[in-house]
Amino acid sequence: MLILKQSLFEQIQAHGARDYPSECCGALLGQDSGTDRTVLGLVPLANQREDSPSNRFEITSEDVRLAEKAASDKGWELIGWYHSHPDSPARPSEFDREQAWPWYSYIIFRVEKAEPQEMRSWRLKDDRASYDEEGIEYIAGAPA
């Protein structure tokens, strides 16, 4: 289960709406208890795919390191990533799967005509062949 505060959910949605029709992306910072994960903060990032931003996103290793640093500065971990699918369903594409890492939570949400729609979270299986969907539990609260 991925636990997501309502305020962070809204920030993710707003990022997707703002960047539409491009894909937006960012880092999920938080804590992993071994059974549940709680998102406690976000790092919105720039989509580095300037050639094809409406159906691709890319986060450089430098930005990954910055996100890791932001997490460890707060005593948290970098637990995953979010990105939008403009006018496409909130499930991983084949291209997503080829690029994915295990362990991370991948939040994907659909943005239809600049309006945020459904949000889902996915984790790559260890054999890389497919994903497990991770339920999202929304809780009230402001960012930590």
């Binding site: 795919r49 890319e58 986060i59 971990e77 594409s93 362990w103």
Partner: protein, 94 residues
Amino acid sequence: MPVKVMIPTPLRQFADKQESVHLEAGTVGDALSALTSQFSDLKRHLYSDDGRLRSFVNVYVNDEDIRYLQREKTAVQQGDTISIVPSIAGGAKA
């Protein structure tokens, strides 16, 4: 020569949950093959089916990207740190 290899968080589960591993290696390629022979489940996440390092797998020797050095032929010396750092990519449609 013993070098240290830093394992990124998403792959630690395949390396006995270790943050880093010390290995004997003369090049980056040696170190990565020693690593994947010790922890075989790491292999599919680091290499594609054709045996090349995946494009979103970034390898640094003491903070220098091996793409700007001699890639997997980059020589390493005792005390060097090899870091495997993810980059993240994807997209809505193939």
